[in-house]
Symmetry: C2
Subunit: 472 residues, 2 copies
Amino acid sequence: MATITHNKIFAGTFIHSKTREKLEYLHNTAIAVSAEGVIVAICSKDDSQAAVQAVLKETQWPGDTETLILGDKQFFFPGLIDTHVHASQYPNVGIFGKSTLLDWLNTYTFPLESSLANPSAAHRVYTACVRRTLAHGTTAAAYYATQSATSTAVLADVCLHLGQRALVGRVCMDQPDMCPEYYRDESPAAALAASVESIEYIRQRDPLFDLVTPVLTPRFAPSCSPRAMADLAALAARHNLPIQTHISENTSECALVGRLFPDLSSYSAVYHAHNLLTPRTILAHAIHLSDAEAALLASNNCKISHCPCSNSALTSGAARVRWLWSHGLSIGLGTDMSGGYSPSILEAARHAALVSRHVAMHTADDAEKEGVKLTVDEVLYLATRGGADVIGMADRVGGFEVGKQWDAIHIQLATVDESGLRNDDELGGDAGNVDLFGTESWEEIVAKWLYNGDDRNCKKVWVKGRLVHQRR
Amino acid sequence: MATITHNKIFAGTFIHSKTREKLEYLHNTAIAVSAEGVIVAICSKDDSQAAVQAVLKETQWPGDTETLILGDKQFFFPGLIDTHVHASQYPNVGIFGKSTLLDWLNTYTFPLESSLANPSAAHRVYTACVRRTLAHGTTAAAYYATQSATSTAVLADVCLHLGQRALVGRVCMDQPDMCPEYYRDESPAAALAASVESIEYIRQRDPLFDLVTPVLTPRFAPSCSPRAMADLAALAARHNLPIQTHISENTSECALVGRLFPDLSSYSAVYHAHNLLTPRTILAHAIHLSDAEAALLASNNCKISHCPCSNSALTSGAARVRWLWSHGLSIGLGTDMSGGYSPSILEAARHAALVSRHVAMHTADDAEKEGVKLTVDEVLYLATRGGADVIGMADRVGGFEVGKQWDAIHIQLATVDESGLRNDDELGGDAGNVDLFGTESWEEIVAKWLYNGDDRNCKKVWVKGRLVHQRR
């Protein structure tokens, strides 16, 4: 994998989150990206050509530097970040029947994950998954592989090869009563050894964890022994690595945790007691938390992955994003494939807005009800800067600033002409499901993209300056 | 518009609803469709070629009759039916901010609808809308045009030209206090006259209402005078025409109806008092009904259009489909653009499944909770046979039986090869967002299509035997 390419200039309209509440629209702007994939200059002028000249002057790069200037109804958007996704479950997306979490694991999930101990099966599934998520503009993902260290190594290799930024976690699950005999770590010691093996494999392939970083991944409290949880926490501390797991997804699961850990006061307290609550810990779901638990997670500066498609599909519940924010927690979005049915973080953002409205429907106070709803700007913040913070990369990706890396999407939308027909041909083929009529404000263009956009609108996708996907 | 073409044979796998609970999978089957677009023979054999021979024998058609035999991972599905959609609002899809029904109407909707009194503006919007919905496999739609009879005539013409089966309604709205001065019928008499004009225009263009049928369309109780409602009901009775309106979408709207009609016991009672509850009445939303109202609607054999995308987007509420069914009501799906953000009935079906899970989350009893959830088979029933019944065409469309008309979609899905790459090229281009791995049962293939399918999977679409859309 060549991550170093050559200097490039991008120009046109750039849209990213200025704050959690507001997107910023940078028009007639040029951004210079170094051969190392880092943004080195940003200039805004009266038109895009003038902006390009300005960054050329600032960088002192030659006039023939490769330059991409976007046309009308096109913009650059930060790469989308998937903070919770099981790459190994990709073949099962859309298949969940009427199941809920615990029966879904046994019926659909464990048999599939276990089959990926075979490296060629793993390579096939992970390649399809990473290519698909890249096509949807996912430039970074926090992946669960499987319990097998071999399978996990394959996922790391696929991400490196295809150029997607990733946390890659071997799934620790050693609790004999809770994990099927055919698919579990044999002991806490075996779990620890396999996790160490996985870390060392990734270190060998990407020594600085430049693109792929190992992540300690106790599946969830019920599937891990106390010993294994504590060992993984110690390993994370020793190597300064992130941790990812699930919390409070489903009421039956919460009750199960209560039965398994009768001496601990809550699900969050279980992780706290085993040293798993750190500023680099990503907790998926966080639906049924108490105020005390939210406060505990916030005081440990833990990060939350909100997975609305999954939570609706598995009838898990509706996470209260505004309430989590009010506790000071940092939140990103996860597809949670295949509990979630969609590979798209744009779909997750859309569904986050819709689920917040379902939360609002059950909020009695009218003023509070309005406040509960998430706006277009807020769900796109979750998809980018929110996600970047959750995976510990807020200093590197999530928006367009000098010093950040060029993880970005070229978004292209089609327009309906005066006869009601579209300009797909001049855009190089089917430009997707969004029809612009030419009267929309930029805010409305972004809303239309959020609600009807798909991978067809992701014309090109870059990670760290490298072109990792383009529509033909 | 030429509706008569020539005899055709379709062969391969056909999937449609056998009952409300179960899809039926007809493999190695051939269906003969006459030049008039009617299914005249269906034969199933050991392979598709033998089935084609069998229908040729049964029909005594020549051996060179045009025949389409589908390959692997492809199937025919009945055309999808949109039982509630405002064609005039199409440019606004995805644009609703944090609004709810009543402010949404004034902010986003009335200004746009009013602008379509200009026929060329109307032609542009309706062409884009009908082409887009056809591309998603919508073969029949119950459309609201606008208050303008001229604009309504344009919509009827566009449907006839593009070949989509449609109910087309001029929107009646004459209540001065509730409708803006720039966009309303001047009086009950003017409202009646414009509705008659609209019916007669359509009769002139399609004398037997073969493809396009006029539908009486009082916007909703608050926007119509009692006189106008009663007059439209009488007109519907005189011409034996369908009626469409909205009911019980939002709690503020329900309270408003209570204030406007203090002598009537419920929203449903208002329509009942004005003779609008008939077996050909399509009521959109039906979210906040009481048991007594559901019983009243059922006793009048009214039909319900469930619009889950809209109801979530506008925070209207979550309709209880299982509960409506338990009252004996017949239900279909509506996109309700642009309260709903999506032109796709497949997306509506997906969201109907998800919304039913949100209803389940707030159902206390565990056994009942499971029952509330809608299955893949059930939401696809809603999208086809359910919709056909709601628009009064259950005898003509919605499934594959001899005597029914050929309103159908050719669904094509792509497969991931052993390297994790896709076979799009051999399928003629981007075959969409569904990745099959080859191990899926037919039930799982359909679930994958429901949850990740889009217009790219609709390779060809026919209405009454006429090819009305095909992917290039």
